[in-house]
Subunit: 404 residues, 2 copies
């Protein structure tokens, strides 16, 4: 080894456990005698090209542990998506600082950045080891059983729907909750884990892996409402029609047209509001409420899966081990080995970079509006220990005295 300097950075949307991976790298690296300094880049790749580095070696292990348990990216993040030229700048800075190990914690885009930088270093004959560490609440990285950050976000969504269902049972009506996940329905599907009794919501779940048809949606809602006197619905932000057009756009246009110049809706209006308006207008149901879970589902402090925390730490640790004991660059991946147990492997960067995983067919019920038991078994252990639970009164009815 040369300088003994390693660099770690965090990219993309923060998660509840991304700092576990950061701290996994920082603490594990210190155990290698060749390592002299652990640098962190502020705000991801942006901080690399700007040389905005901090020396994590000067942190105490105590504070690193406290930061590990804190959600969001402690080093800051970025939405920059480096192209070849941007990557060349990254590589120049790494070389200028004599950094020979680069760890980037992030999703699809980040893995692609690592891939390009890795190739540029090889082409230049520079001895760089570049490792991608997985992270995304969307759970859309291929080659992984699941990705760190997803279990905690899924837990938030499950708990949110468990509560929304209780609220909706108390004051019956229709409730629509819109969930993140882009083109992957995993996070929306997690709503199903908030369900306990057979008549509990969510009664309907819409993922982007299935075409969304507004007429069928309204028919589904109507049938559920007639059966249960209420309806709780989980909808992915990424739902689209057969042509791939986002539903929010279509609805906004339709309603705009209906209004004949009377201002009704934003072209980018919240999907939840739009669906609620449709239900009110077409089904004549009065009590219709919609929530968009927004940033709460990825940033809320105090809703985290201990399994997720542990694994996020481990992918950071393993990245360092692969870097120093292995002989190639790559992307750390989670493999499921038992119910429940996980192990790790290093995948080639081009097996992960630029690819998007979506929900497997076996996870989606044939109705297209529910998940399968296979999905429930897949997700349950990831949610971790101490999941809150809901209980009901077992009602013994009292005989009426008056005629009603």
């Amino acid at each position: 080894m040369g300088s003994g300097k390693i660099l770690v950075a965090q990219g993309g949307g923060p998660t509840a456990v991304i700092n576990q991976s950061l701290v996994g790298v920082a603490l594990e690296a210190r155990r290698f005698r060749d390592v002299t300094r652990v640098y962190g880049a502020l705000h991801g790749v942006r901080g690399i090209v700007d040389e905005d580095f901090v020396d994590l070696t000067q942190e105490t292990s105590h504070n690193l542990e406290l930061v590990a348990a804190t959600p969001s990216s402690a080093l800051g993040s970025t939405r920059d998506k480096p192209d070849e030229k941007y990557c060349a700048e990254i590589f120049n800075v790494l070389r200028a600082h004599q950094i020979e190990h680069f760890f980037y914690i992030g999703g699809n885009d980040s893995s692609d950045t690592v891939r390009i930088v890795s190739e540029q270093a090889r082409a230049a004959g520079y001895p760089l080891r570049a490792i991608h560490i997985p992270k995304t609440i969307d759970n859309d990285l291929v080659g992984n059983d699941h990705t760190p950050g997803f279990p905690s976000a899924a837990r938030f969504v499950a708990q949110a729907f468990a509560g929304a269902n209780l609220d909706n049972a108390s004051l019956p009506g229709v409730y629509v909750g819109v969930v993140m996940g882009r083109h992957a329905g995993f996070l929306t599907a997690a709503a199903a884990l908030g369900k306990k009794f057979p008549d509990d919501g969510p009664h309907l779940i819409y993922v982007p892996e299935r075409t969304f048809d507004i007429e069928r949606f309204l028919a589904d809602v109507k049938a559920t409402y007639e059966r249960h006197g209420r309806c709780v619905i989980a909808v992915s932000e990424g739902v689209h029609d057969a042509s791939g057009a986002p539903i929010a756009t279509l609805l906004a246009k339709e309603l705009e047209h209906d209004a004949h110049g009377n201002v009704q809706l934003s072209g980018t209006g919240a999907l939840a509001d739009l669906l609620c308006d449709e239900i009110r207008a077409k089904l004549g149901i009065k009590r219709v409420r919609g929530d968009t879970f927004g940033y709460l589902q990825r940033s809320f402090i105090g809703c985290v899966s201990d399994v997720d925390q542990r694994e996020a730490r481990e992918v950071g640790e393993k990245a360092v081990q692969y870097a120093f004991w292995g002989d190639r660059d790559g992307s750390v991946a989670i493999r499921r080995t038992g119910f429940y147990s996980a192990d790790y492997e290093l995948l080639p960067l081009n097996a992960v970079a630029g690819k998007t995983r979506t929900m497997e067919d076996e996870f989606i019920a044939s109705s297209g509006t529910d998940v399968t038991d296979a999905f429930r078994l897949y997700l349950r252990p990831l949610l971790g220990s101490g999941m809150p639970d809901a209980f009901r009164l077992r009602c013994a009815r009292v005989e009426k005295v008056l005629r009603r």
Copy 2:
């Protein structure tokens, strides 16, 4: 005593701890030898006039404890606001079932219902004891230091802003979170308890107790953004201009006008979206995100204050004690006796019914966009034990090698 039958019901918006009060009534009542049956009415006053009663006496204490720990109203709730005639129907049913003790868990409207029924019973010479048990996340009942349900909702809001602040620090921009509370700013002000370091958000807090001026708002955001490079804002759903007109309505109209027929916004559009559009348009800031906390803040399962749970149980227990050992109807109220300790008292119904508490001046900073230390000291102990905490890296900067 006559029949030995008592009736309990839950009204208005559910909270995380309203079932604690229900179970407090049910379990405490069984300790009184005069009580033969504890009935629960389904869906509040609606269940009374419909004689939809269940016999809680047949529940096990074990299941009652599990239900107590479950959020939302286990008996179901209602938004019905009874007038004199409706109350007369309630009274008729109570008399028909020989119910001589009536406990209603709810907010302002519920206390007014109890007041009217109490007066009707007295006028009819019927021996009814009617007790109102406080509940509301808005914290807007007069005569109470605070109301059960508020601390848990406040905890959710504080945790949400603690997380949103971390997310915003990681990917800088402007974040607007809209919080419930109607005409009272307590719940929005709770956002301040999510702040830890001096430069943390929420940087700006807007409560309905102060007039909201959009130009001043934009100036506040601009100044904060220039100072910190980011801005986290808590806004009450109830903010209004000097005339009392809701800001959402005003903004929707203004933007509709700006658009000259180009559909932009719903007349009832989400306040968060409207404020974000204003910030983007007037301040030219690109990364602007808004969330409306919606039903999550009152229904999320797994975010509850243990202090709130305990007190909600106690107001239920005390209600029964006041009913059987006291000589008058009334509304149970929480009084603060130490830092932190609480006691209970029975207020006259007309001291609480139909009145609305708003934030005291001493709780609002002179800037109008922050809370005072008095408010922080007021709220902190109510949030309960185990509040999650956020930690930062103490960054040791690395010297730049390249010229940048």
